[in-house]
Symmetry: C2
Subunit: 393 residues, 2 copies
């Protein structure tokens, strides 16, 4: 491959620091190699963000080697050379014969690499929360003398604490998110088809903010009356109407880093119920933000949120947030009662007062959220769109 290295989102030292933490974890778990297959974790450790994961690929991190090795489809090798910080010899493209082949696939090539690395009788870590069962069986069958260790969540836990460089990207993403909300307030109008409103919002998320374009499209959601009791319908073919409520959840993305936000829009005067719920949820959000600080726990934040909204007559069943970073959610903690994860400086969270409930004889929903950074002394809110119930008049 002749392709040149591209501009890197981070300096080499940053990737080596991350890898050093992963290698400490590898040592702690007494394994010799970790096979990373979660695309967000691969992006974190290498800079690779191309969307090639519809076929097998993986990154092998070992104690012996400074740089990890990415094994992926040959066709995607040039993208890996271009995007990752590693040397060209650390990009291994497996042949096309392994695509659409019922007998052998890209994991066979990855396992061949592990055998060459000499770990056939050693400990090998796999991300068993991500690797399909059939593929995990292949590792066990072809590495019968290896000790397979489930390393689910190991890299994601390391990802939770961001460097200042990562925080800069999160801020760039948050600025894009804010621009998307401002655009939503312009295009959510009676007579506009939901799909057309979303087209404008997504365009804004791609065009970006402050000269920095969006680098990917995170799943956007626009749940409009009578579907405000739903949370994950992207949009419909319906037309927005006077009296409609629209719950928007979107995120700008910069080099994988995602900063989500939710806001609720009312076309015309909001109902008393909507206004009452909004006031309670904003109070809950602010109580949560006031509780965030290094040393506190996820449980502390959740307690503050739930206590506040319950006092104001609103009950929320679902958790009120989770860590965010590359490709949105980091599935290793939650703002929920009983989650004793300790907050550390530069952890980033989506504090989400999304609330879907049955109210009287209908499903009802309301959303408000912010992306935040934990600091030593408190919190920095990265998103800055107006924290209000948007009234479209």
């Amino acid at each position: 491959m002749m392709i040149s290295k591209g501009p890197q989102a981070f300096p080499r030292t940053e990737y080596l620091r991350r890898l050093a933490e992963v290698k400490s974890e590898i040592t702690r778990r007494d394994i010799d190699a970790l096979v990373v297959t979660n695309p967000s974790n691969i992006a974190y450790l290498t800079g690779y963000t191309a969307r090639s994961f519809s076929v097998p690929q993986g990154l092998v991190v070992s104690i012996q080697q400074e740089e990890p090795t990415i094994i992926l489809r040959k066709q995607d090798g040039p993208a890996a050379v271009h995007q990752t910080f590693m040397g060209r010899d650390k990009v291994i493209g497996y042949p096309e014969a392994l695509i659409g082949n019922p007998d052998k696939d890209g994991y066979d090539a990855l396992i061949d690499f592990l055998l060459e690395l000499g770990v056939a009788k050693r400990g090998v870590g796999l991300e068993l929360d991500h690797l399909p069962a059939r593929s995990a069986e292949k590792f066990k069958a072809l590495l019968p003398q290896a000790r397979i260790v489930d390393c689910a969540g190991a890299v994601t836990l390391i990802r939770m604490v961001k460097s200042d460089l990562e925080i800069s990207l999160m801020k760039e993403a948050a600025a894009i998110t804010d621009a998307g909300i401002i655009r939503a307030a312009e295009v959510i109008r009676p007579g506009v088809r939901e799909a057309d409103a979303m087209a404008e919002i997504v365009t804004t998320l791609l065009r970006g903010a402050n000269g920095k374009p969006g680098t990917w499209i995170a799943n956007p959601y626009l749940c409009v009356s009578p579907l405000i009791g739903t949370s994950h319908i992207p949009w419909t073919e319906n037309v927005l109407r006077d009296g409609s409520q629209a719950n928007v959840e979107i995120a700008g993305v910069r080099h994988g880093y995602t900063a989500p936000i939710s806001r609720t829009f009312s076309i015309g005067r909001p109902s008393d119920r909507l206004r009452r719920v909004h006031e309670a949820e904003v109070a809950g959000l602010e109580a949560g933000l006031a509780t965030v600080r290094a040393g506190r726990t996820c449980n502390d934040v959740a307690q503050a949120v739930y206590r506040t909204i319950e006092k104001l007559g609103v009950k929320k069943e679902s958790r009120c947030g989770y860590p965010v970073g590359i490709d949105w959610m980091e599935r290793v903690a939650s703002f929920k009662e009983g989650d004793m994860t300790v907050l550390k400086p530069n952890m980033t969270f989506h504090l989400h007062l999304g609330n879907w409930m049955i109210d009287g004889d209908e499903d009802f929903g309301y959303v408000i959220s912010e992306t935040l950074r934990v600091t030593e002394s408190g919190v920095e809110v990265l998103t800055s769109a107006p924290r209000k119930l948007f009234e479209i008049t």
Copy 2:
């Protein structure tokens, strides 16, 4: 849940027909229940297209019950009631306590449902090409007397042959795709940032065509010089220039159904190499199309393509297509030598002459493709954007 049923993409009879085929397969495999976790397969069997699969969810199909049962996060229950054809009692929302819980998750609720169904000592099918290894272990641990059968690909194979109603949606999606290519030809201009060009293309894909909006954003790709040797970089922050080549791969989506297309754009006069490769690849594409017919095999199509382009001095390593439908690729066949899958009427394919190669001292790439339908007597090409090398002058 009070939410009302929404407009369905298909009539009930269509879903029951699909389920009858799945039930035949269940009987053939001598199992009692099939647990479907691949979101595209869930969409196929129920109409559910909400994007809630970042947490566990699954559909249980059993011989005993006419309608299947979807088990998903309680918060997503209203969306399932709204979108699916089944009765409300076939939507089971599991409690929020199973979210972000290291001990129990949504699969525990799904397994509880299987136990109530009485299959503890029976055959249970799982999609082990999709279900994460850790979750598959949970099924085995909690159903220790069940016979677990790997049903990877079973539903996808059934999906390959579309009904006429599905073909109608594929045609709607293809019209949107074509509109996206036409828009690309307008916005790919020197001085335009790649992200801004993509913003316009994606807007078009959402606004749709013939009054039918796009219902989702399929991953779009814009690989521009000097990255034309890559295939899965979405876009960069670079600015398009005179002399740039741009390889575009996009797809319109209607209710999950995806009709992809690729076209190559040259800003300014194409190089002789590009023109020569284009002519060979178009000839290959047309030879492939001329070979498609019910009764022929994937191998036949691939042979025609490869023979034609090789005669014209171009060699392609990667396969030249795959079946398409819900959420783009159906991973059960390929247009490649040796794939003896027999073409049947109303199978739909993405015949893809994407070709990434090393040419002299640089990585080179060229793309052209169509979405097609197999007919008794030949082929119907669903996409209709001009089959040309777009020259932007």
